[in-house]
Structure formats: structure tokens, C-alpha cells
């Protein structure tokens, strides 16, 4: 790894990291602030939800929830935090080398006396550090929100930690798939459409996977691999699905390295 590239890459992304961290934390606090309302009226809520079509509830993962427990409530809205983190990770993945190419700075970087493998590793580490920083802020916000809004209700700490740490693997999936795709297409003109597409695409797959229970879409979407309700209800990860997730991530990363090492950096045309 090259320390200078790491530093440069990390600093270039720092504003984005702050924005995402604040957004995720804000979302987390807003959702949690309704906890007392939900907890008090859990009975009423349950009755209301029974009137909804079952498919709709499954699609939103709301069929097996307890809104009056801390973890139950968290698992209800954690999906939205995952969605934000997925978009962020996708942004960093799709943009890792493509931004440098659309802004034509790749010529500068790749004519320095550093191997491409080293360049990619340094960039990768910087992006991971950026995502991890967002996670740390999210984790701290979570515990702060719990201490403010949970009204002293008990919850299982190890399950919560499992849920919170699972986002790292979850983000890595979107990051590495984004990186691979960005190297497969000829030119990524703008990163956002790609990362939104990937994140919402994966989310929709997960939702539909619930609706048509027998279709095995859960194999390919991280929203199923790390489904919050599953983790909370079982106090454990869904191991086979997580293994699939890790396998896809590793394949995407290896493919990303291979593609980058063999890539032609085209001149301005």
C-alpha cells in the first residue's frame, strides 16, 4: 500500500463521509424518536397491520416484528439504514477508479512509479476506512439513541452488536460489485445512477423474494443475506446466505483486480 495515495484518497472522500454519517445518524434518531409511541400502541399497531395484505407486509419485512421491544423496533427500520449504507458503498465502489478516468486524472496517477496493484490496494483501503468511519458514527448514534429513547427496556447486547457489525460485510458486497461493474463497462459517466440502481435493485429483489415465497431470489441480494428481522429473531446470522454473500464479494474483488491490471487507460478523445 502507498501511504500517500491512501491519504489523498481518504481526504478526497472526507466531505462525503461526513454527509453520509450525519444522514444515517439523523435517520436513526428520527425513527427511534417514535419508539415510545409504537411501544405504547403496539397492540393497536398489530391490529392495524393485520388488515394489510400479507404480501405487502412480507415485502417490507414487517410480518414477524415486535414493535414494543428495542431490537424488534430496530429491526423494523434497520432496513432503511442498510439502504443508505448500500448507496454509499455503491458510490465508493463505482467511483473508486472510474471518477479518476472521467476526470482524466488517471494519467497522472498511473504514470507515477507505483504498480497498479498497489494503487488499487491503496484506494481500496481508503474507501474501506471511509465506510468504516461512517459505521463507527452510526454505531455510536445507535447506542446514544437507545439510551435516550428506549425508556430503560432490556435488550440482548450481543444480538445488537451482531446486527451492527454485519453492515461491514453488507457494505463490502455493494462496494466490490460496484467496483467490478465499473471496470466491466466502458465508461461510467456518472456514479450515482449506478449505485442507486444497484442498491434499489437489490432491495426490490429482496422485497419480491418475500412476496413469491418459493422464488429463490434471496441468494443474490444482501438485503436477504443480512435481513435484520432474521438476525434479531434468531440472535444469529443466516450462515449459508452470509457465506454466499462473502463468496460473491471475494469473486467481485478478484475480478476487479484482474480487470484493473489489464485495463487500457484511454486518452482524452
Amino acid at each position: 500500500m502507498n501511504k500517500m495515495i491512501f491519504q489523498h484518497e481518504f481526504l478526497i472522500r472526507i466531505k462525503s463521509v461526513i454527509t453520509w454519517s450525519l444522514s444515517v445518524s439523523a435517520l436513526l434518531f428520527v425513527f427511534f424518536s417514535f419508539f415510545s409511541v409504537f411501544a405504547v400502541q403496539a397492540e393497536m399497531m398489530q391490529q392495524m397491520l393485520e388488515k394489510f395484505p400479507k404480501e405487502l407486509l412480507i415485502a417490507f419485512g414487517m410480518n414477524e416484528m415486535n414493535y414494543d421491544t428495542v431490537l424488534g423496533y430496530i429491526s423494523f427500520y434497520f432496513l432503511f439504514i442498510q439502504l443508505l449504507l448500500a448507496i454509499q458503498a455503491g458510490n465508493y465502489g463505482f467511483g473508486l477508479v472510474s471518477i479518476e478516468e472521467t476526470e482524466m486524472t488517471a494519467d497522472f496517477l498511473l504514470t507515477r512509479p507505483v504498480s497498479r496493484a498497489k494503487i488499487l490496494t491503496s484506494k481500496l483501503m481508503a474507501a474501506l476506512a471511509s465506510m468504516l468511519l461512517t459505521d463507527v458514527v452510526m454505531w455510536i448514534s445507535m447506542f446514544t439513541a437507545i439510551s435516550i429513547f428506549s425508556e430503560g427496556k432490556e435488550y440482548d447486547l450481543s444480538t445488537l452488536l451482531l446486527l451492527l457489525f454485519s453492515v461491514i460485510l453488507f457494505q463490502l458486497f455493494f462496494f466490490s460489485v460496484g467496483l467490478m461493474v465499473s471496470l466491466l463497462v466502458k465508461r461510467v459517466r456518472s456514479v450515482t445512477p449506478y449505485s442507486l440502481g444497484l442498491a434499489f435493485g437489490a432491495y426490490v429483489l429482496s422485497a419480491f423474494s418475500g412476496v413469491f415465497g418459493d422464488v429463490k431470489l434471496e441468494y443474490i441480494t444482501p438485503f436477504k443475506h443480512f435481513e435484520p428481522t432474521y438476525i434479531v429473531n434468531n440472535g444469529a446470522l443466516n450462515t449459508p446466505l452470509v457465506l454466499i454473500n462473502v463468496a460473491i464479494t471475494v469473486i467481485a474483488l478478484v475480478a476487479g483486480y484482474w480487470l484493473y491490471l489489464h485495463r487500457d487507460i484511454h486518452a482524452v478523445s
Binding site: M4, E103, M104, R112, P113, I265
Partner: protein, 290 residues
């Protein structure tokens, strides 16, 4: 010792041609001009040597090392000024130069100061605020700050005003005197003529001619202009004469062959004026493209 050895280097972008079977050598300490119109394959050749792109076939060596295998080692002693300069827009000039310097071993503070003062570059401005010419200056300082042994200049003067161009040429000559080898790609022949020892002419992806700049001018054509009463272009309809043109009553043409025969032929005329001169590189060059 050859600093650059290129043998049968070929690059296709899918089906479209980059360069085909290009071979040449650049010797240590020379300024090698690389001339051709846009799209002839000049940048492709340079990018292959910098391992920014990968060859379809053939081989490129710099400092005796294969460019596909030893890229990082080679690039340690290379300076590159691209035809279009792009740097991180949010950075200040000085930060970019420091970032660039950090990739090489040594302390370059003095050198950065010297070069940027010479090129009149303001160090505290943001890259995004710079004009094209000023970005080009950043490129020049960035390409030279680590005192490379080999310089790749890809159409380096575009965007520089004439005064800066002259300073830049002086700088390149100065570097060359210290033993730096220069690979100078351009489509402006005047500047190549002023600076280079040898030239390679590339056309539609193939090397057409590699030659000493003097022999290119001498061995070839004379530019002759004759003014005489009642002279018609048909008078010069003899072997060795090309490009016959009539202009303001005088006949201009290129001549290649025994100059005595031509002088005798002309002496039969009642001359008002005659002019025999070396053609400029530009005119020779046009000849290759006819």
C-alpha cells in the same frame, strides 16, 4: 545505449487501429521528434511506453526493460507531459506538486521552487481556477520536478503563449545538456525542427520515415522559384520536378536530382528573379502526406 527500443509494436482498440508494426530506437541524450497529424498514433505510442495501455503485439523497452513487466521501475526515471493536462480540481498547485513529488525519492522543494518561478506559476491557486495555459505549466513542473532521465512530451506547447514556449524550449535544451533524453511528439513541425536531432514521421499508424533532421532537409528537395517573361509551368515538365505552382507570375516547384542540370535549364531563360532554398520541414512533411 538505446533508451527506448520499440520493435514491431502494434496496438488495436478492438478493431480500430492504434499503431501497426512500429519500430524505432531512441539513443541516450538525443531529442527525438515524433511527427504526425492528429490520430496518426503518436499518443498511442507514448501511452504504450508508459504502460497506460497494453500492446496487442510487439515489444517496447525503456532503459532496457520491458514496459509490460517493469512499469513502476521504468516510471521512476520518466517525466511525462500529456497533451491534455488534467489534475485534481480541488487541490492547490503546491499540494499537487508535493503529492507528485512524494512518489519519488529525494527532496524536491528547491527544484519545485526553481521550476515554478521559471514558468511563472502561482503556487497557491486552486487547479480548478487555472487557465488552460497555467494548467499546462503545472504539467511542465510536475513532469520535470524529479529530474527524470527520460522525458515524454506529447504536444507540449499547445496552450502556452510564445514567450512561455521559448522559455520551455530553453528549459528542455538545458535538461538535454545535462544528459536527459527527450521524446518530443508534435504536429507543429517548426518546433520539432528547432529542437530535435532526429525525427520519426508517423502516418496512419505506421512509421513512414526515421531520419536525421539535416539529411531529411538536405538529401531531399530544393524549393525553386523562378520569375521570367513568358514563362509557363510546362517549361519545367522534366523528371525530378514536383508540385509545380504558378503564383504572381513566378513558377514555384520542388526539385530532386542533379542541380547542375536544373541550373543549366534555367540559364536559358531571361530571368527576372530566381530563388533556390531548402524546403522547411513543413513542406517536406506535406510531401509525405500527399
Amino acid at each position: 545505449m538505446s533508451i527506448i527500443e520499440v520493435s514491431h509494436l502494434t496496438k488495436f482498440y478492438g478493431k480500430s487501429r492504434g499503431i501497426v508494426d512500429v519500430s524505432f530506437n531512441v539513443e541516450e541524450g538525443e531529442i527525438f521528434g515524433f511527427i504526425g497529424p492528429n490520430g496518426a498514433g503518436k499518443s498511442t505510442t507514448i501511452r504504450l511506453l508508459l504502460s497506460l495501455i497494453h500492446p496487442t503485439s510487439g515489444m517496447g523497452k525503456v532503459f532496457g526493460l520491458d514496459v509490460t513487466k517493469h512499469g513502476p521501475e521504468i516510471r521512476r526515471s520518466i517525466g511525462y507531459l500529456p497533451s491534455e493536462v488534467f489534475y485534481y480540481e480541488g487541490m492547490k498547485v503546491i499540494d499537487l506538486l508535493k503529492y507528485s513529488a512524494s512518489f519519488y525519492e529525494g527532496n524536491f522543494t528547491e527544484r519545485i521552487k526553481y521550476l515554478s518561478e521559471l514558468m511563472e506559476l502561482e503556487m497557491n491557486r486552486r487547479i480548478s481556477d487555472l487557465s488552460y495555459g497555467n494548467k499546462k505549466k503545472v504539467g511542465i513542473v510536475q513532469g520535470l520536478l524529479h529530474s527524470p532521465k527520460l522525458l515524454f512530451l506529447d504536444e507540449p506547447t499547445s496552450g502556452l503563449d510564445p514567450l512561455m514556449q521559448r522559455k520551455f524550449f530553453d528549459l528542455i535544451r538545458e535538461e538535454n545538456k545535462r544528459g536527459v533524453t527527450v521524446f518530443f511528439s508534435s504536429h507543429i513541425l517548426g518546433e520539432v525542427q528547432r529542437l530535435c536531432n532526429r525525427v520519426g514521421i508517423i502516418r496512419e499508424g505506421s512509421m513512414v520515415e526515421i531520419s536525421d533532421i539535416r539529411s531529411l532537409q538536405q538529401n531531399n528537395y530544393k524549393k525553386i522559384s523562378v520569375t521570367a517573361n513568358g514563362l509557363t509551368p510546362e517549361f519545367f515538365d522534366t523528371p525530378g520536378v514536383t508540385n509545380v505552382q504558378t503564383e504572381n507570375g513566378s513558377v514555384n516547384f520542388f526539385f530532386k536530382g542533379d542541380i547542375n542540370a536544373m541550373v543549366q535549364k534555367v540559364s536559358n531563360l531571361k530571368l527576372e528573379d530566381v530563388n533556390i532554398e531548402e524546403p522547411t520541414l513543413e513542406e517536406i512533411f506535406m510531401h509525405y502526406y500527399e
